[in-house]
């Protein structure tokens, strides 16, 4: 049985990845999964050696045969995504639904497979890492996230590892939903700002909707103590455990610049100690 734990945030830039890789290093025996396929950053710290790269093909794109096309304009009219103008397909706008190909009276439109990204199975100094990269402007981020999770779980099963630690993406849309569906525990990294609170509330509501056990880490908590209290109140009222509060400290950025996890860069720093406690608590919760 493999348990998946995902670090998410709602708002971007609250410290998801920094916290996630630090926890991964502390854990020692996990498969890391970078599900922020839109802007993956875990590999910057973990410097993986890639075992295999897989093309991710999940959708199609319309291609019009100029020789058969009579410029009748029916496809342009039928396309709900405004992806056809003057008998030319905008591949970024095209969602691959196939309506144009279906209605074209000349059979001039073909739906061809297209690559939306790459999926990597890698090894790092702290263990296996599955990561991916969506090609610029592509849709299908949710499906690629699902592939990252599948491969991570597969590797964990093969190697007898019981935990997959996921670094999620900001937001609450398609990639985040694909990240949290069916996971065991969600860890929301937030910050004591008006936007941090607002976004944490929305993403915690998403986790509740998908019936995922929710926890919170407050990063840079001393930046605004009043807001930190507001977050703690919200968590208490919603039965969400606050796993830890991290002080604002430039050491977090310094470790990132050094391309190291915090426990590697500063093993005796108070935040490293705090994160060890956080990880132990996560392990307890997984056993409950």
């Amino acid at each position: 049985m493999v348990n998946e734990v995902a670090v998410i945030s709602g708002k971007g830039g609250t410290g998801k990845t920094t916290v996630c890789v630090a926890l991964g290093k502390i854990a020692g025996n996990v498969v890391m999964a970078d599900c922020d396929v839109d802007a993956p950053d875990v590999h910057i710290i973990l410097n993986p050696s890639i075992n295999s790269a897989i093309d991710f093909v999940a959708s199609k794109v319309a291609v019009i045969d100029e020789n058969l096309c009579t410029d009748c304009g029916l496809c342009e009219e039928a396309c709900r995504f405004h992806a056809i103008t003057d008998s030319t397909v905008d591949p970024i706008g095209c969602e691959g639904c196939g309506v144009c190909a279906h209605i074209c009276p000349e059979n001039a439109i073909e739906m061809v497979e297209r690559q939306s990204g790459n999926l990597y199975d890698s090894d790092t100094r702290i263990g296996p890492l599955v990561h991916a990269k969506l090609l610029p402007g592509e849709g299908n981020s949710g499906r690629l996230v699902t592939e990252v999770r599948k491969l991570s779980t597969q590797i964990a099963t093969d190697k007898g590892i019981s935990i997959v630690l996921i670094d999620g993406s900001p937001g609450i849309g398609c990639p985040v939903i694909a990240t949290v569906t069916g996971i065991k525990l969600g860890v929301i990294v937030t910050e004591p700002t008006m936007s941090g609170i607002h976004d944490m509330q929305r993403v915690s509501e998403l986790l509740q909707k998908f019936r995922v056990k929710t926890t919170v880490i407050i990063n840079k908590y001393d930046l605004n103590l009043e807001n930190t209290e507001a977050i703690e109140r919200f968590c208490k009222n919603n039965d969400i455990e606050v796993l830890g509060k991290i002080k604002f400290d430039p050491i977090m950025t310094k470790s990132m610049v050094a391309a190291q996890t915090l426990p590697e860069f500063a093993p005796d720093h108070e935040i490293s100690h705090l994160l060890r406690k956080v990880w132990n608590r996560i392990l307890e919760m997984l056993l409950e």
Binding site: K11, G12, A39, D41, C97, V99, G137, S169, P170, N224
Partner: protein, 280 residues
């Protein structure tokens, strides 16, 4: 004129830039296109808000007419329709509203009805007309709502758009038809990596752009060196400053408390106008 503020990496200060720029250059349209996690309103605190609901066409199957032939499910590229032994089911959240199932159904058993996916809130604060989308929690597809927010653009005015983070379809939907893109980054390895991905997207769209380095001084020189090497204009550097961070945490745009920044944002706008002009 449409200026879009984007970033690649989340949390680099897109919203801070969009709001402070709007407050500095006068009464304009400000559109928050980060419909998953809209934040502009947490800095501008609108009070009188007009709200409209945004819907998407979603298929409804008339089970009496349906013969369970399965053509709709076969056609659907998004796995949004499942034909069972006794019933055809639609998974609303998976549906992209392409309309294909209704077209292919030989029995005319599928009609489309509007289904709410989010809201648009509009308000006027200090002369700035603000519109922001709010995607309903649990809805995966943001692009339709972003499209609806962008319908509020008034071409003859200056429109500032706050984009979602990342480089995927919601970002492209926001960037499309912009006259200029401001990419906000921070001087760290993550900031640099995600900036270079955003630059790849922007170059593909062929829109003039420049970079703002936020929290200057917290990391390394990688972003600055990258911009120099690739001849990308650095429009502004905002230093890391605990006062700016604390003001943000309280929901206060920093130009209101640090008036010297008014002029810097105004100068930056003049620079942007020149870059757009030179581009043409």
């Amino acid at each position: 004129m449409i200026i879009t503020v984007a970033s690649g990496k989340g949390g680099t200060g897109k919203t801070t830039v969009a709001v402070n720029l709007a407050l500095s250059i006068g009464p304009e349209k400000l559109l928050d296109c980060d419909v998953e996690e809209p934040n502009v309103h947490t800095l501008l605190h609108p009070t009188e808000i007009r709200t409209t609901t945004v819907t998407v066409p979603t298929p409804v199957v008339d089970q009496d007419k349906c013969t369970l032939c399965g053509k709709c499910a076969e056609f659907c590229q998004f796995n949004a329709i499942f034909v069972g032994k006794t019933k055809t089911m639609v998974f609303n959240e998976m549906c992209h509203s392409c309309g294909g199932c209704a077209i292919v159904c030989p029995e005319d058993a599928i009609t489309e009805t509007p289904r709410p996916i989010g809201k648009i809130h509009e308000s006027t604060i200090d002369g700035i007309t603000l519109a922001y989308g709010e995607l309903t929690i649990g809805e995966p597809i943001a692009t339709t709502l972003i499209h609806a927010v962008k319908e509020r653009i008034v071409p003859e005015k200056i429109n500032i758009l706050d984009a979602p983070p990342g480089t995927a379809c919601p970002v492209i939907e926001t960037m499309k038809a912009s006259d200029f893109l401001i990419l906000v980054t921070e001087p760290t390895p993550f900031g640099l990596h995600d900036l270079s991905m955003a630059v790849d997207v922007v170059r593909g769209l062929d829109i003039p752009f420049g970079v703002i380095i936020n929290r200057a001084g917290i990391g390394d020189d990688g972003v600055e060196e990258y911009c120099k090497r690739d001849e990308i204009p650095i429009l502004l550097e905002i230093p890391f400053d605990r006062q700016i961070a604390e003001l943000y945490s309280r929901g206060v745009p920093f130009v209101q408390e640090m008036p010297e920044w008014h002029q810097r944002f105004t100068d930056m706008y003049t620079h942007i106008e020149r870059l757009i002009h030179n581009g043409k």
